[in-house]
Amino acid sequence: MNLVSFFFEGLIMAAGGAGKVHDGLTFWQRIQPPEDISEHGHLIEWLFNYTTILNIFFFALVCAGLFGFSYLYSAKRHSKPYYTYGNKKSHIMVATAIGLSVFLAIDMNITRMSNNDYTGVFINWPDEDKEEVYRVQVMAQQWAWHFRYPGKDGVFNTEDDVVYLNDLRVPAGKKVVIQMISKDVIHSLYLPNARRKVDAIPGRITRIWFKLNKPGKYDIACAEMCGTYHYRMQAKLTVYEDADMNAWMAEAQEKAIQENDPENLERYWGWTWQKTTRKEVSMN
């Protein structure tokens, strides 16, 4: 591991990045994904690493064959080739064995795990009849994110809604459900620190839920090409302890009631919340 790391650092220095490398990170630290602040992000990382190990094993096999044979059977070392069509029973069995072992050892394996995480967590929507969730509506637009909170009345798309631009604030340790649309082109809400992304598409509502544990300030990005300034379509994610959350929200709600002008129809891009109930949950 360190050896690899060392090797690449050497290369990178040599590559003239040297001027910018003074943040003193090792190569290994550089290629780590951003810190995981979510309850379930580790599932994704785990599966990734698991796949990596299996892949390394099989790729090692390929390399062993590739380089080993190239060395052993080069014309000068091995002048008389072994004349075979590879249709002996043993040959066929080996080939099929490899095929199947790749399929069973890697594919079905990771598919099963991924499927469990998928159904068990990522589309296992919290049941809003049973538990209280933190709800946010998002409208993506070239090139900005609008975030809408229900406000005091707890109902979306009313004049007391709290609406912020490029600034999402959520509580730690509580399930967050986000519903989103897009005003113009397709965008993709990308939370690197939660290992998640979902497209925001004009004309339909897409949803995502997650649970964040680590208070702090993080990046939100747009992952789907959406025009010239796609690269600048960023927002900030703030994760609060409960106390700070309530404080901020109370203040924001007050502000909203004072400052929102109900006449301004521009403000009403929200929609009535699409509740996820047990029925739907079991459907997935």
Binding site: I44, F69, G99, K183, A221, A223, R232
Partner: protein, 577 residues
């Protein structure tokens, strides 16, 4: 089996009929080759500009920057960056790799290797090339329109690619160009399919065809079936842009919101996924053959390889949904596509095993074509295995639209397919031009490219896993990507290395074609497929006697041989103990 014998018409005399509007599959093949190499150069230079913008944001692009972007003092502006990667993707896929592998070697190899005098429909063949030229003109022309070329990515997702996202004729021209190219390739496909079915030399059964032909044939089938799907999508997109129809407009954007942008994604990927196999199937075939030729022994499990390719062809039509996980399809669809995607690696692994089996106990000669073929085994291993991370839905939710994807498909296309093309060029050069490319420079070209390529594409995998997403003009506006500056610089230097090493190739190629010395030996590689039974460069109408096939394409290293040769021509009765 040959359904009829093609007549030998007199040689064309005028320059025009010889080199411009030629019906001869060999000439058309060469035309496509030049076309493709130019495309490679264009796309490659664009790639280098992309890399420059990523490594040195806000620094003027060297040499040509000043002339191209005077208003910014040579710095690549953001909108231009979008055009660059859109055009880079489009050109590399449709105007570089497709013409080289399918256009050039499809045309050149099929009649020669199945032993007929020309394609079944020479006229259609010529039209197909000139339509491709027309399409290229449309595409390049779009660069010079007022608002510039298409900038919505090669996938051209609406609503970005409709008037809402990209006004101006650039995007329309893009769609039209792709449509025209689609027609051209479909014509080619019809030709290939028919030729392979009907004009194989007498005695040549399907499993006596070289695997190259298998690859090209399956590719042609996929082309004939799925290019029209892309055509339909493109048409509807053009209608939306020009006639104001509503297919892909929705929500706040549409006057009456019943269109749906996601429909385009379905249509595009129904074509798009088969397309990636369209690109790689010929490469697989070529590699399987070359590995056998240069290990001087029959291709290991050739039948199994052919059948694996066939089953991949079939499977490839059922997995396209894995490009759309983040659009939140119904869970059932998502799970189905995930599972189907995974099954593709069975056949893949099988012919990996066969490739290794081929070189196993061979007597390997490391000429340049062989080097490139071995290179394909290496890089496609990486490319294929990285596909698995993307196939599982949960990891894809994180990796989708990051550079991990970019790394994956560069390993599969820009590495495997590109190497396949190079292997083909080095291998058939003597038959095409009657001259050999310089071996030493060929080997240098291989090693430098290999070095640069892994630097670029493995680097992409790293930054991708670190969270850097695609199509970013300046990734470093994000705090969490700051730490990737040095790696991106490293990738860029590797890309420059790779780019420069292509110049070696181009110079070698151009020099040999025009000034190289004739290769006297009609069969320099000592292999037995039909094209090597005739003089090189292949004469007018290839075979004055239609050959009769008596054995398979990979008859090398047969111990029972009494001749001084260690291989048999396909026209010879198989020697058995």
């Amino acid at each position: 089996m040959a359904f009829y014998e093609q007549h030998i018409h007199p040689k064309p005399t005028t320059f025009i009929s010889k080199y411009i509007f030629s019906y001869d599959h060999k000439v058309i093949g060469k035309q496509f080759l030049w076309y493709g190499i130019l495309g490679l150069g264009l796309g490659g230079i664009m790639a280098l500009m992309i890399r420059w913008a990523l490594a040195f944001p806000g620094e003027a692009f060297p040499l040509i920057g000043q002339f191209m972007f005077p208003e910014t003092g040579g710095v690549i502006p953001p909108d231009t960056y979008a055009m660059l990667f859109t055009m880079h993707g489009t050109i590399m896929i449709f105007y570089a790799i497709t013409p080289i592998l399918i256009g050039a070697f499809g045309n050149f190899c099929i009649p020669l290797m199945i032993g007929c005098r020309d394609m079944a429909f020479p006229l259609m063949n010529m039209l197909s090339f000139w339509l491709a030229v027309l399409s290229a003109v449309l595409l390049v022309g779009s660069l010079f329109t007022p608002l510039g070329a298409a900038a919505g990515g090669w996938t051209a997702y609406p609503t970005l690619s409709t008037l809402i996202g990209s006004p101006g004729v650039g995007q329309t021209l893009w769609a039209v160009a792709i449509f025209v190219l689609g027609i051209s390739s479909t014509m080619g496909a019809i030709n290939y399919i028919t030729t392979v079915i009907t004009l194989r030399a007498p005695g040549m059964g399907y499993f006596d065809m070289p695997l190259t032909i298998w690859g090209l044939w399956l590719t042609a089938i996929l082309n004939a079936i799925f290019l029209p799907v892309l055509g339909a999508g493109g048409l509807l997109l053009v209608f939306d842009r020009v006639f104001g129809t509503q297919f892909f407009l929705a929500g706040a954007a549409a006057t009456s919101g019943t269109g749906d942008p996601v429909l385009f994604q379905h249509v595009f990927w129904i074509f798009g996924h088969p397309e990636v196999y369209i690109l790689i199937l010929p490469a697989w075939g070529i590699v399987s053959d070359i590995l056998s030729f240069f290990s001087r022994k029959p291709a290991f499990g050739a039948k199994a390889t052919a059948l694996s390719m066939t089953s991949i062809t079939i499977l490839s039509t059922l997995v396209y949904g894995h490009h759309m996980y983040t659009t939140q399809m119904s869970p059932l669809l998502t799970q189905t596509f995930m599972t189907l995607t995974m099954t593709i690696s069975i056949p893949s692994a099988i012919f990996f095993a066969n490739w290794l089996g081929t070189i196993w106990k061979g007597s390997i000669k490391f000429d340049t074509p062989m080097l490139f073929s071995l290179g394909v085994v290496f890089v496609f291993g990486l490319g294929g295995l990285t596909g698995l991370y993307l196939g599982t839905v949960t990891t894809d939710l994180y990796l989708h639209d990051t550079y991990f994807v970019v790394g994956h498909f560069h390993y599969t296309m820009a590495a495997s397919v590109l190497f396949g093309s190079f292997a083909a060029i080095y291998f058939w050069m003597p038959k095409m031009f009657g001259k050999m490319l310089n071996e030493t420079w060929g080997k240098i070209h291989f090693w430098l490219t290999m070095l640069g390529l892994n630097g670029v594409f493995f680097g992409m995998l790293f930054v991708g896993y670190a969270g850097m997403h695609r199509r970013l003009y300046d990734p470093f506006v994000y705090d969490f990507l700051q730490k990737l500056v040095p790696i991106n610089t490293f990738i860029t230097w590797s890309a420059i290395l790779m780019g420069l090493s292509q110049i070696i190739f181009v110079v070698n190629f151009v020099y040999v074609v025009f000034w190289g010395k004739e290769e006297t030996d009609p069969n320099p590689w000592k292999v037995g497929t039909l094209e090597w039974t005739i003089p090189s460069p292949a004469p007018h109408y290839n075979f004055d006697q239609i050959p009769v096939v008596k054995c398979g394409p990979h008859e090398l290293g047969n111990p029972n041989l009494t001749t001084d040769r260690d291989f048999q021509y396909q026209t010879e009765e198989l020697v058995e103990a």
